[in-house]
Symmetry: C2
Subunit: 273 residues, 2 copies
C-alpha cells in the first residue's frame, strides 16, 4: 500500500496501523510523512506492524534552473536515500522532475537527469539502496518528470550501469497509470526483466473520463487498463515484489474513510489485478 | 489556420472570410462545419478567398465495439475522404479513435486501426487524397486515439505502404502538442522526412499548468514547447507545407473575439514559431 492512496490525512503511525490491520503485507511511505519523526522510530513501527517497505517516495526533482539548485537537490536526495536505507525499503522511488520553471529546454533537463542520476547512483551504492527510476506519463513532462517512457528509463539505466549484476542498483518502477498506453510496453517490460531492473510495480486505473491531470486516478477495475495483462507481463519478466496500490484521487477516494479505501483496494487486488 | 482555433462559433463562410482578412494563406476546416452545406460551394468560397486547404479534419473513429460499427465508421470515412478531395485539401487528418466504450483491449483496438487504415488507404488512392495519421498525446489513448507516438504512426505507414513513392499517400501530421515530450521525437521527424511522410505540421503550446485534458491548449509562446526547435527539425526533414495553428481553448481563446485570436496567432507565428 502506497500511503498516497489514503490522501495523507493521518499521521504515519495511524496509517501504518490501518494498513497492517487491513491485511496488506507492505507499505510505501512518503518522505513528507516522516518530517519531524526520527526515521528509526518509523522503521520500528513498520517492522512491529509486520509490514515490509515496498518503496520510499520520492526523489527531489533533479533538473534545476542553476547549478546551486542542482547541487542542493542532489544533497537532499542523498539524505532521502539514507532514509530509505534506514527504513529497509526495497527501493528509493525516483520521480525525476520536469522542466525547470521558465525553461523550454527539454534536452538540457534530460542531460541534467543523466548527470544527477549518475551522482545519486554512487551514493546509492554506498548506502546499499536501489534506485527505481519511475517514468511518468507524458502529460507530466512539463512539471513533474522529463522521464516519460519505460524505454527512456531503461536506456538511462543501461547507460549508467551497463552490465547489471544479479541485483542492479539502478532499475525502474513500472506504474500502470504512466505506461499503459505505450505501444512499446511489452517490449519494455521484457527488456527490464532480462536486466532484472523491475524494482517496483504500481497499480491504479485510468478513468475514461479523466477530470484532472494529477488527482483523478481510478481504483483498479474502474478504468480501462488491462491490469491482468500487465501484471502477467511483469511477473513473466521475473518480478516477484509487491503489487503496490498508488491512487491520487482528491475527487473520490481521498474523500472516503481510510478503512473504506483500504478495503476496496484489498478486494480489487484479489479480483481484478 | 485550423478553424478549431476559433471555437466553431461562426458559420464556415464567416470563418473563411475572417481567416483570409487576417492574412493567413491556408485554412483547415472541420467536417462539422460543412454539415448542410454543399462541399463544392465551401470549396469555391475558400478558393475565392485566396486560401489553400492545409488539411481537412477529421476521420471518424476506427476501433469499434462490433463489426457493423467498424464498417459504418469506414463508410463514413470514405465520404469524408471524398469531401477532402473536393476541397482540394493537402491531406485528410486521421484522429483514429480510442478504445471502444467498455473495452480494455488496446492490442485489439490497434489491430482494428491497421485493418481500417488499410481499407481507407485503398479509397484514398482512388480519390487522390493523402491520409495524415495524427499521433495523439498518450493522455487521449482511452477516448480519442490509440495512435500515440510518431514512431507508432510511422511503423503503421511503413507496414501499409512499404516503399513510399515521391509522394506517399499515407503520411503523418506532426502536432507539437501531442509529440513535444517524446524522447524519440528528433529521430521520428528525421525518419518521417526521409520517407516524405510529413503531410501537416500543427502548432499550439503546452501550458505548464494545464487545467483540462482536452481544451486548455496554449497560444504559441505561452507554454513550454520549444517551437523553433521542432519547426527547424520538421523543415530540415523537408517539410514545406503550412504551419497550421490548432488551439482548443474553452477557458481562454474561445472566449475572445475571432479577430483577436487570429491577430494573436498571426503575431506569434512571426515571433515565436
Amino acid at each position: 500500500m502506497n500511503t498516497a492512496t489514503l490522501g495523507f490525512r493521518q499521521p504515519i503511525a495511524a496509517t501504518i496501523e490501518a494498513v497492517a490491520r487491513a491485511g496488506f503485507g507492505a507499505i510505501a511511505p512518503w518522505r513528507r510523512e516522516l518530517e519531524g519523526e526520527p526515521v528509526e522510530s518509523v522503521a520500528r513501527r513498520i517492522r512491529d506492524a509486520g509490514l515490509a517497505v515496498s518503496g520510499y517516495c520520492r526523489s527531489t526533482y533533479i533538473p534545476a534552473a542553476d547549478r546551486d539548485a542542482f547541487a542542493a537537490g542532489l544533497a537532499d536526495n542523498r539524505r532521502a536515500i539514507d532514509q530509505a536505507a534506514a527504513l529497509g525499503a526495497a527501493c528509493f522511488v525516483m520521480v525525476v522532475g520536469g522542466l525547470p520553471e521558465g525553461s523550454r529546454d527539454l534536452p538540457d533537463a534530460r542531460a541534467q537527469l543523466v548527470e544527477g542520476t549518475a551522482a545519486l547512483l554512487d551514493h546509492a551504492r554506498k548506502a546499499g539502496m536501489r534506485l527505481a527510476l519511475e517514468p511518468l506519463h507524458p502529460m507530466y513532462a512539463a512539471d513533474r518528470s522529463v522521464l516519460n517512457t519505460l524505454a527512456q528509463a531503461l536506456d538511462l539505466a543501461a547507460a549508467l550501469e551497463p552490465a547489471p549484476a544479479d541485483a542492479p542498483m539502478l532499475g525502474v518502477a513500472v506504474d500502470v497509470y504512466h505506461v499503459w498506453w505505450d505501444p512499446a510496453l511489452s517490449a519494455g517490460i521484457a527488456r527490464a526483466g532480462r536486466d532484472r531492473r523491475i524494482l517496483a510495480y504500481h497499480v491504479s486505473d485510468w478513468r475514461r473520463e479523466t477530470r484532472d491531470l494529477l488527482n483523478d486516478r481510478g481504483m483498479m477495475g474502474d478504468g480501462v487498463i488491462d491490469l491482468r495483462a500487465i501484471r502477467a507481463a511483469v511477473e513473466s519478466a521475473g518480478y516477484t515484489g509487491a503489487v503496490e496500490v498508488e491512487i491520487f484521487s482528491t475527487l473520490d477516494w481521498w474523500r472516503r474513510e481510510p478503512a473504506e479505501t483500504l478495503a476496496a483496494c484489498a478486494e480489487r487486488l484479489q479480483t481484478v489485478c
